[in-house]
Symmetry: C2
Subunit: 339 residues, 2 copies
Amino acid sequence: MPAAERGPAGICGIDIGGTGCRVAVTTPTTGPSTARVFTGSGLRIGGAGLDVEDLMLTLEPLVAAARDASGARSLDTLVLGAASLVTLLRNAESVHAELHARFGAHTTVLASDVLTSHIGALSAQPGVVVAAGTGAVALGTDHANLWQRVDGWGHLLGDAGSGAWIGARGLEAAYRSYDGRVGGSAGLLDRLLERFGTPEDLVRSVYTRQDRAAVLASFVPDVAEAAAQGCAVALGIFRSAGRELARTATAALVDGLPPRIRWVGGLFEASPDLLEEFGQELHRGHVSLDLAPGEGTSLEGALQLGAATALGSGPEQREGFLSTQHHWTGRPQQPGRSA
Amino acid sequence: MPAAERGPAGICGIDIGGTGCRVAVTTPTTGPSTARVFTGSGLRIGGAGLDVEDLMLTLEPLVAAARDASGARSLDTLVLGAASLVTLLRNAESVHAELHARFGAHTTVLASDVLTSHIGALSAQPGVVVAAGTGAVALGTDHANLWQRVDGWGHLLGDAGSGAWIGARGLEAAYRSYDGRVGGSAGLLDRLLERFGTPEDLVRSVYTRQDRAAVLASFVPDVAEAAAQGCAVALGIFRSAGRELARTATAALVDGLPPRIRWVGGLFEASPDLLEEFGQELHRGHVSLDLAPGEGTSLEGALQLGAATALGSGPEQREGFLSTQHHWTGRPQQPGRSA
């Protein structure tokens, strides 16, 4: 890094999920909310799990552009917040090594996106964040001893109330209508035909694609439109989803945490019925609940985590982070730190 | 085919699904119930759909062994009954051509396995068959004008009440218990841990495999064991499955068909609760219902269809079969017959 000492060092935050990637770099003069955001494609998970080379190819131009836009000459800390990191990342060491080699960051941090969402939404205060988009997951933590991750098991095993969950139920109701089974919705069938072609066309395409959860979630706007027009099946799906997300948040609110819940993710804007049911269910269970939308994004959370790490005050300094594997920190001089 | 005229001509029946393949050959002296059955692996559906080459590699030794065991010198007719044929087979012509080239059959028939199940279960009588294993599908037909196929949309879009459906709900309940969400079952969680390792292990494996429906369905014996030991969640899953399968059968019993329903597939033996609820739900809806397990297997159905085709009396001679695309017949001399 010959140029490393000649300009301000930056903090790079990366937020990457199944459908997209967002990158920004902050410096002492540009903060998380003013840094320019660069966007790219999402994570591809192949038969061998996360493709590290593919990830690096996605990140390289975005990180370079974000660093140039910030005026930083080098990167002090790079935080990668990724969906499904805990379960799909088989080789954290190689990702640390690649990030260090390609971007020259002094410290690299790999974090579950639910942790960066939590930090962004709650400004590092203790409480619960529930994040819902294509998937759904909650984290309740005080950044010290309490670490309760709930759901986030993917569209086949959980993600209750998520976009994929809603889309799958909407499509099931469309197929029930097509078949003449009870529980169908003719309105949802019309929307399936419009979006995907014939029922057979959708079958042919969905089972041969890798991004099946995203295909399912792509039906959410149709379910929302049907609900807005009074379709009882669609309304019921959104209300059930709101209840499921409330239950996920409740399970993350373990004893010892203040009753503070923040929601983040586009799904909460998909339908007023979902949000209403979500709030009602939560207030039914908790008398004095502090419930609000998250303050900042998960990208802002990644940048905050990076800044705290650079200052040596990041939560990775505390026992909880390392012991619960919500993120891993790598420094080339201290390979033993990576866990 | 130099040897074609020197021995009796056989009828080859093939029944192939996601988890296995069964092949038998009949001759004028060995009927469908006495022919020796040869078994192999199931269909692999890759990113490009059905892999024809892979299918042929699976079939080649099985068909040769079945033909040799039967004493047939050549094959008159070959019937391939396959799961998801209608929706996943992109190139019927090439399958016909390959089957003809490799096995020398005069006539090749590609049929949906729900049709061969129907013929086997009902001995070609009009009525409804509902087939449940890893997937679930029903067909109501009189082999003439009425053709009502219901469900069979796969584990992401339907297959309500199937093995994959039951397994997914059982696993969801296990993850709910692990998370501390409502609706969980500690008993099912214990069984998940025993069969799949940690909850993260299952996530890692299921989303990187092609045979996800089979992985889900592999949990059915565990759900059945839990139900037998009184687990209310597991019992509820089997009862819901029974109701779903009854609704699928009901939707296939269109006006004009006699109220005759046959069930086939291993799932109906997985739990007495499923079968009881299935029967109760059907009898609630239909006063004078003729409800019984199927008489013969789908392999026997494929052999019956082959024999009828060879005699020129097969249902493919009738308008209904060709127009509804429940099977395709190919003859090298009459390429126009394939539709």
